[in-house]
Amino acid sequence: MQTSFTNRKLVLEQKEMNIWERMYLPAIVKGLAITISHFFRKPATIRYPEQKRTVSEAYRGLHILKRDEIGAERCTACGLCALACPAEAITMEAAERKPGEENLYREEKYASKYEINMLRCIFCGFCEEACPKAAIFLEEDFAVANYTRDTFIYGKDRLVEKPKQGTKAFDIVKVGRERELN
């Protein structure tokens, strides 16, 4: 027999079972009692699509591009988020703000195109940390599903926060959408 080097080996003592234990029936009855006690317990299930688990405030879900208090987009297309992104999921194109668009874009430069590939994104939140304008945040939504891969490239239409009612941006976006519909 090999000697123990650490003296920490536990020697398991197997006692001879008595007749009561060898019948197994008491043990089986005990087991049945344990399982039936679970029968009347409240299920631990959260019925997902109807019920959702509350997530912490720091949860990193899908991205959102924030607007400021008057409803203008905060993003200035500086590209720091794309630089910080370890998965290289973010691309953007910058454009210059034209006169009359002050209520839509906060700075003179804005992102005319802003795309995040949600299949590449690893939801690390580095973009959030990198953003100097507090424009991009990771929010609580998760579990996106679709049938084709290209639908996972989120453009501005799905990333930008919906403007709040009462802000000027709300009216502009609304007018724009109505014009599109007509």
Binding site: G31, L32, T35, K42, P43, T45, R47
Partner: protein, 353 residues
């Protein structure tokens, strides 16, 4: 014509029980999933219909519409024959079971039993012993090692446990003096104290364990033990042929529960039977309540089957054989000998002592 009218009640009972058996088996699948869920603090199927009640039908549609695959190297005829035998055999048993007492309709008195064989218990044994072929033929015809292993395990298990099952029943039959289900059930009339499980606890226990083994139910579900044999004897089966195998398992469970309830728990007898007869003066009401009581007992045992499945882990194969041959058979033999001695003293006058 005359003979046809005489047979009509039997035919009606057979057809009713056919439909009822299938329905109960259908909902046993649902019940199994629900019971499993509740025992594991879950909810179980709840999407198809209210509380998931339409789930069995959804499963059935799925089973029927799935692609049917017959392996190239399989023996086609036997491959189809296997599940057919399994299904036929388990549906045949319900003929001899007494579902209720006397029913008077249209001025005629019927007994709610299709056929009262004077050897009903033996008939059940015969059908069970033949049902082994469903597993064996299916497993062999698949031409797959796992299937063959499963089939051989299944058949050897069923043969082994049939012996102790038979011996435990012989002890019971010694006491009742009849092999007819109707006689055995009628003898248990008159309160719980007359039920056979109190008179013959050891027989009951052995029979119960063997019933688990005969149904291939956990903890004796070695023929289809996924962890060792992929899917056991039905590895190669798909579509409704697989459905037949699974279905026959549930029907077997129902039939075993019915047999256990009839042999050991008084069948359609229930406490307060005589009192009900005295107050209502109607045998029909008593019979209907009796049928209800019988089905309550059956449902309890079906629940028990599921309860045990989620409590006791599967046996190892050698443990299974040891239990069958080295524990249950000697126990059943001792039980039989003790019963024989007791019966001898009961009938002393017959021996002229």
């Amino acid at each position: 014509m005359e003979t046809l009218i005489n047979f009509l009640p039997s035919i009606i009972i057979i057809f009713t029980m056919f439909v009822v058996t299938l329905l109960i088996a259908l909902y046993s699948t649902y019940g199994e999933r629900k019971v499993a869920a509740f025992l594991q603090d879950r909810i179980g199927p709840n999407r198809a219909g209210p509380w998931g009640l339409l789930q069995p039908f959804a499963d059935g549609v799925k089973m029927f519409t799935k692609e049917e695959i017959i392996p190239d190297s399989a023996n086609k005829f036997l491959f189809i024959l296997g599940p057919s035998i399994a299904m036929i055999c388990c549906l045949m048993t319900s003929v001899v079971l007494p579902w209720g007492g006397e029913l008077t309709l249209f001025g005629k008195t019927f007994y709610l039993q299709a056929v009262d064989l004077n050897i009903g218990v033996l008939y059940v044994f015969a059908v069970v012993s033949v049902s082994v072929y469903g597993i064996m033929i299916g497993g062999w015809a698949s031409n797959n090692k796992w299937s063959l292993m499963g089939a051989i395990r299944g058949s050897s298990q069923i043969i082994s446990y049939e012996l102790s099952m038979g011996l435990s029943i012989i002890a019971l039959v010694l006491m009742t003096g009849s092999l007819s289900f109707r006689d055995i059930v009628n003898q248990q009339h008159g309160g719980i104290l007359h039920w056979n499980f109190l008179m013959q606890p050891l027989s009951f226990l052995i029979f119960l364990i063997c019933a688990f083994a005969e149904c291939n139910r956990s903890p004796f579900d070695l023929p289809e033990c996924e962890t060792e044999l992929v899917g056991g004897f039905h590895t190669e089966y798909s579509s409704m042929k697989l459905g037949f195998y699974l279905f026959s398992e549930y029907i077997n469970m129902f039939i075993s529960s019915a047999v256990i309830s009839a042999l050991f728990f008084g069948g359609f007898n229930f406490p307060g039977m005589d009192w009900l007869l005295e107050t209502t003066h109607s045998t029909n009401i008593v019979t209907m309540v009796g049928v209800g009581a019988y089905f309550m007992k059956i449902f309890f045992f079906i629940f028990f089957f599921m309860w045990v499945r989620w409590t006791i882990p599967r046996f190892r194969y050698d443990q299974l054989m040891n239990l069958g041959w080295k524990t249950l058979i000697p126990l059943a033999l001792v039980n039989l000998a003790v019963m024989a001695i007791i019966e001898m003293f009961k009938h002393q006058h017959a021996f002229g002592f």
